[in-house]
Symmetry: none
Subunit: 416 residues, 2 copies
């Protein structure tokens, strides 16, 4: 079963408000194996919404439309559906009675304007609203089911649950959609896709449990989103486990999470598992590395301290970097990064120390060491690893990518 979701309301066509109802609707539809193929936001314009209904009816299995069911002139969803179906609408006396009672309960008289909410396109079924005056509607036409739900989430959600449980779920059968997010760093999107594509392109054809794959490049990382369509949660999980294993064979340790976790959390879990602690010495990342490590709740169990040494004075006084070393090799160099990592580790008595030094830009670059040159050292018991990177992008990108690379070096060192 495939679906469209339409959100109605001019406020969602301003710079200030997005449609979030569709997330909850998608989640519930996915759970019964119904795929969302298209989402739209339409303003309070009868003709435009009617045209969209007309296009969908006969072309898609299900249209879920939220909003525009209120009593005022700018609530146009009922009218648009009536227009698209080209049927008359009748006033439903039971609905009027129900709305009248809701008002009476609060000691009020129903305003005449609310009669609009009782207009039912011929052939439609009313869906009761436990939490407001706006009833929903359900109608089937030309192989398409149209469901109208109210816009306010607290009215929409219980009505959605009931429609799923009583009407859509039984029709869809048991099949569900199950997801897994793989996160990768240290590789470009094209490198990942060149390796992964020959594998995931197999999963859609003729398998018991087909899996669709989306590849997403986010700053400093690549995400692979796998979606399995299976008849039971167990079958979905088994297929996804097998799929992840196949990808692990070609991508190896480049995958840092197959459960969608951020890298700082993966590193935190490795530190906890090993009973280890960490301290960091930063220059060009300016505190962002410490900040990411401490974004994880409970990070005080392993994060001891960090020091941000922007000035060379600070590097000498706080990190024991010899002035001559800076004079000879430059502040951005492998020997300096090494001293930073080893000194912060020794000074704080932690298991792991990180040193990061580089040129975040936009100023400070030279022909030999252009903006984006970053040297990272990770000191651990018995071993210090040092690596030089060349990142591309604005200051914030260089900062973020540097922290990503530093966390990844720690991860790889602790994995091995």
């Amino acid at each position: 079963m495939n679906a469209w979701i339409i959100a109605v309301g001019s406020e969602m066509l301003t710079p200030f408000k997005v449609d979030t109802n569709s997330l909850a609707v998608t989640e519930r539809l996915n759970a019964i194996g119904c795929d969302v193929r298209f989402k739209a936001v339409v303003g309070d314009e009868v003709a435009e919404l009617a045209a969209l209904f007309t296009r969908g009816i006969g072309a898609i299995d299900l249209i879920v439309c939220t909003g525009g069911l209120g009593p005022t002139q700018d609530d146009i969803t009922r009218d648009a559906l009536t227009l698209a179906l080209q049927v008359p609408a009748d006033e439903d006396a039971t609905v009027i009675e129900r709305i009248r009672q809701r008002f009476a309960q609060r000691g009020m008289t129903m305003p005449d304007i609310n009669r609009r909410q009782a207009m039912v396109p011929r052939g439609a079924v009313m869906l009761e609203n436990e939490r407001g005056t706006a009833p929903g509607l359900w109608i089937e036409r030309a192989g398409t089911t149209v469901v109208l739900l109210p816009g306010p989430p607290r009215e929409m959600m219980p009505m959605l649950e009931r429609v799923i449980d009583d009407r859509l779920g039984p029709r869809a059968g048991a099949a569900g959609l199950f997801r897994r997010v793989l996160k990768i760093t240290g590789r470009s999107e094209s490198e990942v896709d060149e390796r992964a594509q020959p594998i995931y392109c197999q999963w859609t054809r003729g398998q018991d449990v087909p899996i669709s794959t989306t590849i997403l490049a986010v700053m400093g990382q690549i995400e692979l989103h796998l979606t399995a369509s299976a008849s039971t949660p167990d079958a979905g999980a088994a297929a996804l486990d097998a799929a992840v294993r196949e990808l692990e064979q070609v991508l190896g340790t480049a995958i840092y999470s197959s459960r969608g976790q951020p890298l700082e959390r993966v590193v935190g879990e490795l530190l906890i598992r090993g009973g280890l602690t960490i301290a960091v010495a930063e220059s060009c990342t300016g505190g962002l590395l410490a900040s990411r490590l401490t974004d994880v709740p409970g990070s005080s169990a392993y994060f001891d301290r960090g020091v941000v040494c922007y000035s060379n004075d600070a590097k000498v006084a706080w990190l024991g970097v010899p002035g001559e070393l800076i004079a000879d090799c430059g502040a951005v160099s492998e020997p300096v990064a090494r001293v930073m990592a080893e000194h912060v580790r020794a000074r704080s008595g932690t298991s792991v120390g990180i040193g990061v030094t580089g040129i975040a830009g936009p100023g400070g670059g030279t022909p030999e060491k252009p903006v984006g040159t970053v040297v990272i050292a990770v000191a651990a018991p018995g071993e210090t690893r040092v690596q030089t990177f060349q990142f591309v992008g604005a200051r914030d990108m260089v900062k973020f990518q540097s922290t990503q690379a530093a966390l990844n070096m720690v991860r790889l060192l602790l994995c091995n």
Copy 2:
């Protein structure tokens, strides 16, 4: 001029991700008097996107489409547009060369798959991407302009700005919209609105240059967006200057920028103007304060160093906080924050020192000092100010609000 906005990407048809690019696009289009009539999200399906293009071309003035311009198989926007226009696509050698150079800068070879990004539907104009490999496209057909922009906001935004400035803005006509963003911290949205509303409600009626006002509550700050509709830039600027002066009279120093600048930049300018330097000692903010200060290009002129002391050991050893003081008052206390600020200032020889200690949560709260309790001290020549705050929200919210309050304390101290 009326527009459609289309976001392309299957990930936005999952329960986890909404299209937020359309908010920025809407804001910029509104600024040149262009109305958004319809928004859609389409998955990575060539036929569906092509059908939507086909429906829009000839029916609407402008279609802005974001996403799906990457190099991989699931990036289908170029193909869909080519299909809808029914024209051939040609490989553009200059684009290939540009992409090749981007890879070369990072010491990498362009994978063959990236050639896809150089395919241009005949008649289209390439839009250069300063921050990524995916170029944008601009094409006009049957009275409709179609603009394709990349999906990642940091690549999309500069390209959008340029399209608005160079191509769409001039076409939209002479009467211009001019904006000013006032940024406020340390006040609630209702406090700000109670003072500002009686003033800005005057600006719409019968004035030569009407100004519309939007109030936006963002984490840790309030923004007032003023939009003047004027016949010349001078008239717009004069009206906005007068409007800002009126608001300054009722909001005073709560306004930290009337040019939309981030707080860390405002503080940086105050430090530069005074020939001052700064050092920070952080606990609960975990490096975020140093990271925000160093987000500003050129901040090495005033930012000397920072230290993140998560463990009490680190506070004692690195910040000279007496162990008995922690035992007596607790690590989250005004005396400890004061020592942190004064010690980091003395130790690094800077003009200003900041100390931040608090409970970011979710753990660590007590009945007397619940999660969100944060103490901030600012030490300057001849004066140390200390203040205790109670913030609400998750760990990342408490961290951000704490840095906002710390930067604001520095600003107020340097302003006076």
